[in-house]
């Protein structure tokens, strides 16, 4: 979706403001939101929270703090999947009673879960459509759903710099169309190809893209 989350190349967002000695969290509720997003085993594919945040209307997205977006996305996913109701979120009172049969993350399982992570690489055979050094062009696409192909790279030519191996294809997964594992590449785009002749001649941007985002050039 051509949403406000796809920010690469905007120029009017002001200077980067750095907070000295920044704490990890700025309020107690941020700690709790972070932990809930991590802990809930939802009825949705991995990465859905991110897609849900992209669906926040742009004026709200820009106004919200980071963890407000997390709170919104988790709440929306819980309601959409039927795990809780909107009334419950409004009142803070559970109506449905204890949810049986669901795997719940326990305190003793947290550190092992973090150490294991959630690998997106898949050990399945998938033929690489491109090879390192090959010239490619990112598709010019404007899908209304989730995509990891940023607007600034669409239609632009680059070079395959590295083959990362076979990964889940998030564009497909979070929209309920399956993992569709395929090769992901680091693609080097010259700054001048992306931004025109005023850009420094030797500078470049590397973007990670999937086979389905690319064509030979």
């Amino acid at each position: 979706m051509n949403g406000v989350h796809d920010m690469g190349g905007l120029q009017d967002m002001g200077p980067v403001r750095v907070e000295k000695n920044e704490p990890v969290f700025h309020a107690e509720w941020e700690r709790r939101v972070f932990a809930m997003v991590e802990a809930v085993d939802g009825d949705w594919p991995e990465g859905s929270g991110r897609y849900q945040r992209e669906l926040i209307p742009p004026t709200e997205y820009l106004r919200m703090s980071y963890y407000e977006r997390w709170l919104r996305s988790l709440s929306e996913l819980l309601v959409k999947s039927g795990m809780v109701t909107r009334t419950e979120l409004e009142t803070g009172i559970a109506e449905g009673g204890n949810t049986k049969g669901r795997k719940v993350l326990r305190a003793g399982e947290v550190r092992p879960a973090i150490a294991g992570g959630f690998p997106a690489k898949r050990n399945v055979p998938a033929v690489a459509k491109f090879h390192v050094g090959q010239r490619v062009r990112a598709h010019n696409i404007n899908p209304v759903g989730h995509t990891r192909l940023p607007r600034y790279a669409r239609g632009r030519q680059g070079t395959i710099a590295r083959d990362h191996g076979v990964f889940v294809f998030n564009d497909s997964l979070v929209q309920g169309r399956g993992e569709k594992p395929q090769h992901v590449y680091s693609v080097r785009f010259a700054a001048r190809e992306l931004w025109g002749s005023d850009a420094p001649v030797s500078d470049s941007v590397y973007v990670d893209l999937w086979d389905d985002h690319l064509e030979s050039a």
């Binding site: 920044e22 802990a39 909107r86």
Partner: protein, 236 residues
């Protein structure tokens, strides 16, 4: 209607021993685009967070002790010291440095690092010819296992938008002005690969131990928005 719900929520939460703060924006309508019924949610994130946690705990969907542990780990156990240890080791052990650049995931595993948000890691090296910086223009992707959770500026619109179109301007705001003959590479973490910058070892650091070198390495240098210096000022 709003008042009723808010009062009810406040009563419930107070009864549960929670501290309820007044909403800062009672008058602000909320629109979730799914009908008028949803325009009257409590707008204070602290209040909504408490309501959400109460429901998830009562429903048996989360374990409060697990939430506490998650916070403990990411607030106190995992942070930029991990990444600094990797960098310092690469500076003193050239074979390790080559392994790190060749297969970051395997090399950090040698030092006991990896896992969530660093399952697939690529390390890019700054030299006297090339300067790398890392961004996530679409979201906030960041190597948690090595740097902890990202700072607010990394997730900000200002950084996400300009790091790719004007990296030199962004670096200047961080106090780093690069000569034209240094090649700038911006790495946009659009997939599930996470990036770490291996900064240049500062000149004159020859006599320092690995631990002393690690103490010089800042979070910002490993994102690529600053350099590591000997006369290092305390940074976040």
């Amino acid at each position: 209607m709003t008042t009723t719900r808010r009062d009810l929520l406040a009563t419930v939460l107070t009864a549960a021993g929670a501290t309820v703060t007044a909403s800062r924006s009672d008058a602000e309508p909320r629109n979730h685009g799914e009908g008028a019924d949803h325009q009257e949610l409590p707008s204070d994130p602290a209040l909504r967070t408490k309501a959400l946690e109460s429901v998830l705990v009562a429903r048996g969907l989360v374990d409060r002790a697990a939430l506490d542990t998650l916070v403990e780990v990411y607030e106190h156990e995992i942070g930029p010291r991990n990444g600094a240890r990797v960098v310092a080791h690469a500076w003193v052990d050239d074979a390790y440095r080559r392994r790190l650049l060749d297969d970051g995931t395997a090399a950090i595993r040698e030092l006991g690092y990896g896992g969530e948000e660093s399952e697939h890691l690529v390390v890019v090296e700054n030299t006297d010819r090339v300067h790398n910086l890392v961004v996530c223009t679409l979201c906030s992707c960041y190597p948690w296992a090595l740097l902890g959770l990202p700072p607010v500026w990394y997730k900000s619109a200002a950084y996400r938008s300009r790091a790719v179109i004007d990296p030199r301007g962004v670096l200047k705001e961080f106090g780093l002005e690069l000569p034209a003959d240094i090649e700038v590479r911006a790495w946009d973490s659009t997939a599930e690969v996470r990036y770490l910058v291996l900064p240049e070892r500062p000149a004159g650091a020859g006599k320092l131990s690995e631990a002393e070198l690690a103490a010089l390495v800042t979070r910002d240098a490993m994102i690529g928005v600053s350099r590591v210096t000997l006369a290092h000022e305390a940074r976040a």
